[in-house]
Amino acid sequence: MNKTWNNKAWWMVLPVVLLVAFSAVIPLMTVVNYSVQDTFGNNQFFWAGLQWFEEIVNSERFHDALARQFLFSGLILLIEIPLGIFIAMNMPTRGWALSVCLVLMSLPLLIPWNVVGTIWQIFGRVDIGLLGATAAKLGIDYNYTRDIGDAWFTVVIMDVWHWTSLVALLCYAGLQSIPQAYYQAARIDGASKWAIFRYIQLPKMRGVLLIAVLLRFMDSFMIYTEPFVVTGGGPGNATTFLSIDLVKMAIGQFDLGPAAAFSLVYFLIILLLSWIFYTVMTNLDKQGR
């Protein structure tokens, strides 16, 4: 084989390089720039080395926010994935009922984050909110501004309300792609409903579930707007997730250096976790071969 070597071809890559540079690399590099410097204002910067990174990685505040973040993402995955599968399996498969279902389920997905937060902020209010006031009338002590448990409950349920449809719709698509012959074969083989789920539906949904878990994990790990609108990170720091903490640090306290270091560590954690998720799940896939 005689390959033609022509380095001019590299020019073809240039547009992409420029695009990525301006959209991602350069903004990221300014953050990197801030993360190794200190400033006392007047646009004067001093070299700080890895000081901010050391501080962030060892700070209790960061550890707590990270722990809350993991708890939150874990909880919503534990609820949304099984619930989404359950809904998808019980959805009508044809006719007007299906259309109604699809429209109703898509609605939460179309609502902007801010509005979702506001809806739930009002919904949960003890004085005028449907949920809060009803709970108060029934004698249930529910107040998300005061009680840590209630705050967590509200934030988690809000995310479940907002995003379970996404999981359900993905699973529904996965289920629809299973040929009828599989169900018929399973009936002939005398398989129970559970066996059909375990050996046909679940394996056939594997691909969409991988996407659903990844999307929901990444998205929930970066959540900011909704809890910020509802609880503002409180009571105390009880619902201060990583993004909320970062914004407090960067804009509230204007600690640019530590906030930049925080951003990079945050970014690396998400990158690492997504990579692990993806690798583990695709490897599970390959073991089948």
Binding site: P179, A181, Y182, Q184, A185, R187, I188, D189, G190, A191, S192, A195, Y199, I200, P203, K204, Q287, G288, R289
Partner: protein, 363 residues
């Protein structure tokens, strides 16, 4: 294992069928013997899948009954019918190993592991899957997957019939032949009732003891491959089976003479007059010869094309605007100067509106 009796069976997809055209499957009344291999043959839309689905229990017939060994199963769901089915596309349980796939129907029926193991090993041996037992089923080739599908039916001892719904559709051509032979051998060994749906005449003829040819919702003929070849009961059978199919020429019959547009051919037998029916003379290309000079049974033809396909030659000729095919053995000379076509009277069949006429008496 069971005898299958299709008692006055008919099916229409419409709620209130009135005319015969409303029926996707016209009334049939047939007994399929225990342990034999049957093929349902026909082009798409002829009702063969409807019939298969009635037997498997996917469809409840609008009329008649399906009896397995005298027991009416028409209203039983699939899982209670003791049937097995191999589908057009391979159905395997992806996450399971080949062993678990084969064991699955038995495990669902709560058999003990020791007897399952013995049975699975035996069936795997039979299907030449022993080496793959520990592999995951999803990684195997399409033909191996089809064998697993079949195996899941074979492991059960209570299976009344094994149904095949065009099982070789996705198999590579060179493996098709191999798998067909294995299937045939398996049938001879196991003597289970097998029903094989296909639109491929080669598959049907090599696999089945009895071929059920369907056309437009009717079962037009059930018979051995030889009967279908020698005595096609319907012009569709004549045309569909054989390569090329039967020659059909419009004809008038007067007692024991056939008149084909001015040419007369003596028939060996006498036929009753058919009023107003569309009459056709059918003869297979195998039973026609070309000759340079006329005889008593010959028609003048013009040869258009000679195709030499190795085993024999197919001659495409023209008789008054009708295409006639002639099969000529490879070693026999043939040239475009041959202008006369001899028809062997023993193999001439007459069809009225598509159906073969009974011969009334010897001439």
């Amino acid at each position: 294992m069971a005898e299958i009796y299709l008692k006055k069976l008919a099916h229409s997809y419409l709620p209130n069928p009135q005319k015969p055209e409303d029926y996707a499957l016209k009334e049939i009344d047939q007994v399929w013997e225990d342990g034999k291999a049957y093929a349902l043959l026909g082009s798409s839309g002829c009702g063969k899948s409807t019939l298969l689905n009635i037997i498997s229990g996917l469809i409840t017939p609008s009329q008649g009954e399906v009896l397995f060994d005298g027991k009416d199963v028409s209203h039983l769901p699939t899982e209670q019918r003791q049937i097995a089915q191999v589908f057009q596309f391979p159905v395997v349980y992806d996450t399971m190993t080949v062993y678990d796939n084969l064991a699955f129907p038995l495990r669902n029926r709560k058999q003990d592991e020791a007897s399952i193991k013995a049975r699975v090993t035996e069936i795997a041996e039979m299907l030449e899957l022993s080496a793959d037992l520990k592999k995951k089923a999803r990684g195997l080739t399409a033909d191996a997957k089809q064998k697993i599908s079949l195996g899941r039916g074979l492991v059960r001892q209570d299976v009344a019939a094994i149904l095949f719904d065009e099982p070789l559709t996705v198999i590579d051509p060179h493996l098709k032949w191999l798998l067909r032979m294995q299937l045939k051998a398996l049938h001879q060994r196991l003597n289970r009732t097998m029903i094989y749906v296909t639109h491929d005449q080669t598959e049907a003829l090599t696999f089945a003891d009895q071929v059920v040819v369907m056309y437009d919702g009717y079962v037009v003929q059930m018979g051995t491959p030889q009967q279908l070849f020698e005595q096609p009961e319907h012009t569709f059978v004549g045309y569909f089976i054989g390569s090329p199919g039967m020659n059909l020429l419009p004809v008038q019959v007067d007692g024991n003479t056939a008149h084909l547009n001015g040419q007369s051919i003596p028939l060996n037998t006498h036929y009753a007059p058919q009023q107003g029916a569309k009459l056709e003379l059918g003869i297979r290309p195998e039973f026609t010869q070309l000759s340079p000079s006329p005889t008593a049974n010959s028609l003048p033809v013009t040869i258009k094309r000679i195709e030499d396909i190795g085993r024999h030659k197919i001659v495409r000729a023209d008789y008054q605007g009708q295409e006639v095919n002639i099969l000529v053995p490879e070693d026999q000379p043939v040239s475009t100067d041959y202008h006369y076509l001899n028809l062997d009277p023993k193999h001439i069949h007459l069809y009225a509106n598509g159906r073969r006429l009974k011969r009334e008496s010897a001439a």
